[in-house]
Amino acid sequence: MKKQLISLMVICALLISTQGVSDDFVISKAKLIEKERQDLIAQLSPAVIAVQSMPDMNSNNLNRRFGGGNGSGVIIDPKGYALSNFHVTEYGPIKVGMVDGRLHDAKVIAYDEGSDIVLIKIEGDKDFPYVDLGRSSKVKVGDTTLAMGNPFNLATDYKPTTTLGILSGTNRYLSGMGNTHVLLYTGVLQTDTPINPGNSGGPLFNRKGELIGINGRISLASRSQQRENYKVNVGVGYAIPIDTVKKYLPTMKRGVDASHGVLGLSLLDLDKVTISSVLPSSPAKKLGLRQGDQILEINGKQPQDKYDAIHMIVELPAGTKIVIKVKRASPLGEGLIEETQYTIKLKSRPIPMNMAKNAKPTEIRNFDFVTKNEFVKTGEGVKGELDQIIDKFRVVNRDPLNNIDHEDGLVWLMETRMVNVATSTVKRSVAGDVITLFKKGNYFLERYEFYGKNMPIGIKGFAYGKGWKNSSREINKFTLSENEIVSHNYERRQHWYGAKTSSLYSLGLKEKKYKLENRMCYQLLETYDGKGYYHYIDRATGIEIAESALDKEGKVISTIIYKKWGRVEGKIVPLVWEKKNDNGELIQIFQVQKLSYGMEVDPLIFEYQPGVYF
């Protein structure tokens, strides 16, 4: 009390000399805060790096060959060890940009794909500036957070971009993407500090300058009315808590990839955490766990909900033995019985082929047909209606700044069209039917796809022709054999109407033999809306494998080659498209990825763009 009175007197004396409670006093608090913040940033900046992942032309791996991305990282050790996101460095050799404005070589020491973390080491012997690891268990909602990194590759001098916000929430859960659930985030921090594509792998600091998280994903939304596809940060970003990283850091420092555990369960949130399905050949399956069983405890702790349970399991390394308390559901469906305790060993999560550092390069086949079982399942009960939507897909162009047309479902490039149109009808045919393909009306293109019991047999008929109204011409005639046809997919597009249609071409449709990417195909020319296109139909399978856009003189401008096929909305469509220019150089790759329903979350990668002109 006495101390306070004295300081009070001192302050009063000082203030009396001014005009009482002056503006300067009001501002002084804010300025003190500002100065502290500036000093902190200056101290931390040298340890923040820009991480660039280079395309590796020699790799057989698709992602490595044509990928490349920009992200951020932070140095945590004076020897030059640094953290970043796994998804930033998965593409290939890496370089890091530091505040000296230069690019330095770096190499990956180990991956932790499950946490989306990578440990790298920057080449060099000198003492690197580094930051201290904090404790994410100590941070509370409302705490000041600073993010530093290189969003949108704006730092041409590699000096980090700093943004300010607070910790918005803890223990967040984001479902993974794709079949292998990559980028599954459990128990992560949420912050409103602006982080954008390119901030991936960068640090999240608390007010003391301790590293409390690694920024990894954000919820995106469009904030510009016209450019609906241009999505940016809207105040919801996620960071991997440093405590999670610390668990695997010792292993990773020894050069061993971290492997997270799985039980092989899919869970439901009911009154208790309940099993909804069990994966075959998983530890859970081996134990005999079933749909309906309730998980009461994991290692003595009761999971609050399914997200908590998943987090508890995924956090642990593969090979860990855990004790779970389960209340079994009776197979007769008469209510639950017995509470049992099991000891179960976690298996390691399947790592996607292109991601493991030591994975052997895999040959990418051009066509991956769906299995018979899958096809038959969706072919059931369909009469003139679309197959039920299995998954929603969206094409992710690796350059988020490019403007491409997005739709929930299929994506249409602005410059070319995909041959499969979203709406189509599936009709049933039976063995013995004679199918005659006609052309009626004007210039048009018709495709007939046929699916066999064993696999799609592709396009049997490709009708085309040129003519005026009311003419018709028989194009193709064939008989369906017994085991051949289950259903066929018919679509018809009409291009021109009458003589008034303007066109820069008067070329007719021609069918030429052509060799594309070592596959024998037919090259069909089509003109549509005044533009010309080549369709390349693979002779072996009858499936269209590429399409070229032509210029006025009929020369090829660019070609899109379809690779890697799968099902979307019941139709067989290509999932990876490579766009090549007239010199055959690859200029763009489009890849269809599965969206998590209900949330739009994207990894924070910004595409590396070569050839910047100045």
């Binding site: 409302g142 939304a221 009315q225």
Partner: protein, 682 residues
């Protein structure tokens, strides 16, 4: 320890001396966040999902109306993970809110505040379940932090409210609707609306609905259920004259909004409070501590030889630090406000310039937008981004409502700024600060004048980086949108650091030349420093159109030196002596080029040759060739491509520059004239 409430400012400062400033602010935020998130709920029905806030301990919840109607049954998930069935007790369609009741006792809740007392600059937190990120039953809803940007009527198509609303730079997203907006005294003053699209600017604005309109309605429902007071600090709302400490007697130096409502004025001498004589702070403190919140207190004051009776409502105090911070923001804004102007457009003809309607670019609303007084005699600076068409009359409105027709003078297309002139010679010029004084981490306030309120819209952030966009811009993280493009970003002293722009043209690659609002609202914003604009001012004043420099060289981005990998021989330029119709033809052809991608040959478009001329690039003419390494530029040593880019990036076309170049081990000096970017063909 006795608290001297009326020396809040002094004692608070003394007490906080040992700790760091950031820690103090943080403690306030932690405490409020903890309290508010425990009272935030998630409401769902078949067709309605929102967040909501418990406002009484017996289960009244305030949320957004959306599709709820009175009598609906809703499912309410509390922060402790328990689910309740609630009923919609009342809805207020005009205010966009609804009141839900669940059956519970002792629930954590947030007391209601008076939204009329909220001012621009006040710090708030916005709580809710954005993007369903609080998916688990046990995870609490998320907290976003920001300030009140303005209080205004919004022009938007999405109408779920009427009257004035708050706009805030705390982000409000899908799922957060209906959650609480709480000030730093811990009171609920608004509920989250959503991010609505402003018809004026086509920018998204986070809107919060003030609760004052529904207060009476809510009170009639909750009746006797008054919030429980737990001994928090109470204040009358006056700060005292420092001399009072030493001489005795309580003289009011300044009033907070609470006391002013009651009629107490600066300079008053306080005689009695609640019937008791008070001669000094301790006595005043004792009296106030014995009173209850939200009650009218009789205060007798001595003013101009008269004794007057006034009535003040006791309010809870806000933490000192947040009060000071917000006050500091307001002071800074007040200093600059008279120099922030409003720019609007009137169509003079029906013709629109087709050349500028690139479907890839950001489509602006019709305005109004913002500008800054740059010189006393009528010069206004703003961003080129807001001028969508050539045939519009430009109207500049000053802070006092006076309107002028403006003339466009020069512009810097690389920096995206335009200078306007109005016929006035007594404008209030703001203070400018040079960019050398700006450091990373400095506090920034970005201002706009789209809404026609007295106080400009304010958004708070920090300086994120220097020398961005090829050295042309400072990067900040406040909420930059068309709502404040063209306006100023200022520091805590109320000095202007620079003009807000969408993005400076970095003049490179595929995206060279396009500046849209891509970064709008993302926490990535750019400011052109005034100290740079000063260097260009004369050129702009003379109506020049400055283009960013283009040399025509490309570099290996991964090399640690400035080694040229390619020199472009020539470029095609629109012949400036062309007729208007020919210019249109040029732009039409340009659009076709864009659609085809970058590759095309001149031979394809013979018409093109008629409207354009080929000029060799500055680099080619100067003799620069592939594999040359640039070691010096205008006398400055160059060690990397990035460094060179930041230096050249700041220059405009037409300037003469010198290089020192190393080729095959031999150094030579090269002179070049910087060209400008036209269409580059290969």
């Amino acid at each position: 320890m006795k608290k001297l409430i009326y020396v809040l400012l002094f004692l608070g400062w003394a007490v906080t001396l040992p700790s760091t400033e950031l820690k103090i602010v943080e403690n306030d935020l932690r405490a409020i966040s903890e309290k508010v998130t425990s009272a935030t709920v998630r409401i769902s029905t078949l067709y309605h999902e929102s967040s909501g806030t418990l406002i009484t301990s017996n289960g009244f919840v305030l949320t957004i109306k959306d599709r709820l109607t009175r009598g609906n049954e809703v499912s309410v998930l509390l922060a402790d993970g328990k689910r309740h069935v609630g009923k919609v007790a009342a809805t207020w369609p005009y205010y966009g809110m609804a009141l839900v009741k669940i059956d519970t006792t002792n629930a954590p809740f947030v007391p209601l505040g008076d939204s009329r007392m909220v001012e621009v600059g006040d710090q708030v937190i916005s709580v809710g379940n954005a993007f369903n990120s609080s998916s688990g039953r046990a995870t609490r809803c998320a907290v976003n932090y920001g300030i009140i940007s303005s209080r205004t009527t919004m022009e938007t198509d999405k109408v779920f409210f009427t009257g004035k609303v708050f706009t805030t730079d705390a982000r409000i997203n899908k799922g957060q609707e209906g959650g609480g907006v709480v000030d730093f005294s811990g009171h609920l003053i608004a509920i989250n609306g959503e991010a609505v699209l402003s018809n004026q600017t086509n920018a998204f604005v986070s809107v919060a609905l003030p609760i004052e309109g529904v207060m009476e309605g809510i009170n009639s429902h909750i009746k006797n259920e008054l919030p429980v007071v737990d001994g928090r600090q109470k204040i009358v709302g006056i700060t005292l004259d420092d001399r009072s400490l030493l001489t005795g007697g309580i003289k009011v130096h300044s009033i907070s909004k609470y006391a002013s409502q009651g009629g107490v004025k600066k300079g008053d001498l306080i005689l009695k409070v609640a019937g008791q004589e008070v001669n000094n702070l301790f006595e005043l403190d004792a009296v106030v501590m014995s009173l209850s919140l939200n009650r009218l207190v009789e205060v007798k004051v001595y003013r101009k030889s008269k004794v007057l009776t006034r009535y003040v409502v006791l309010q809870e105090s806000m933490p000192i630090n947040s009060m000071l911070l917000s006050e500091a923001y307001r002071n800074a804004v007040d200093k600059v406000s008279p120099s922030v102007v409003r720019i609007s457009f009137e169509k003079t003809s029906n013709e629109t310039s087709t050349a500028l309607h690139d479907p890839n670019s950001f489509q602006l609303g019709h305005g109004p937008f913002t500008g800054v007084v740059y010189r006393r005699d009528g010069y206004i600076m703003t961003t080129s981004f807001i001028f969508p068409s050539v045939h519009e009359k430009i109207i500049v409105e000053l802070f006092n409502g006076k309107k002028y027709v403006a003339k466009k003078l020069g512009e810097d297309t690389g920096r995206n700024i335009t200078l306007l002139k109005i016929e006035a010679d007594d404008l209030i010029v703001p203070k400018f600060v040079s960019k050398e004084q700006v450091g990373i981490g400095s506090t920034i306030l970005s201002l706009g004048r789209t809404f026609g309120e007295n106080i400009p819209e304010v958004s708070r952030g920090i300086v994120s980086a220097l020398n961005r966009s090829a050295g042309k811009a400072i990067q900040i993280d406040s909420n930059l949108t068309p709502g404040n493009f063209g306006g100023p970003s200022i520091d805590l002293d109320g000095q202007i650091i620079g003009i807000n722009i969408p993005q400076a043209n970095i003049g490179s690659g595929r995206r060279g030349g396009t500046v849209g609002g891509e970064f709008s609202g993302s926490g990535i914003g750019f400011v052109i420093p005034c100290s740079d604009i000063d260097l260009l001012f004369n050129d702009l004043k003379n109506g020049k159109k400055l283009e960013p420099a283009f040399l025509g060289i490309s570099f290996d981005l991964n090399a640690n030196n400035a080694k040229i990998t390619r020199v472009i021989e020539g470029a095609w330029f629109l012949d400036s002596g062309l007729e208007k119709t020919q210019q249109n033809k040029f732009h039409e052809l340009n659009n076709i080029f864009m659609k085809q991608g970058l590759r095309f040959t001149v031979g394809q478009f013979n018409e093109f040759k008629k409207v354009a001329v080929k000029k060799n690039t500055g680099a080619w003419t100067a003799g620069l060739r592939k594999d040359d390494v640039i070691v010096e530029f205008n006398g400055q040593k160059i060690v990397s491509y990035n460094m060179l880019m930041n230096v050249i990036g700041r220059l405009n076309s037409g300037e003469s520059v010198t290089f020192k170049v190393k080729r095959f081990g031999i150094f030579r000096d090269v002179k070049a004239v910087l060209g400008s970017r036209g269409l580059v063909l290969r």
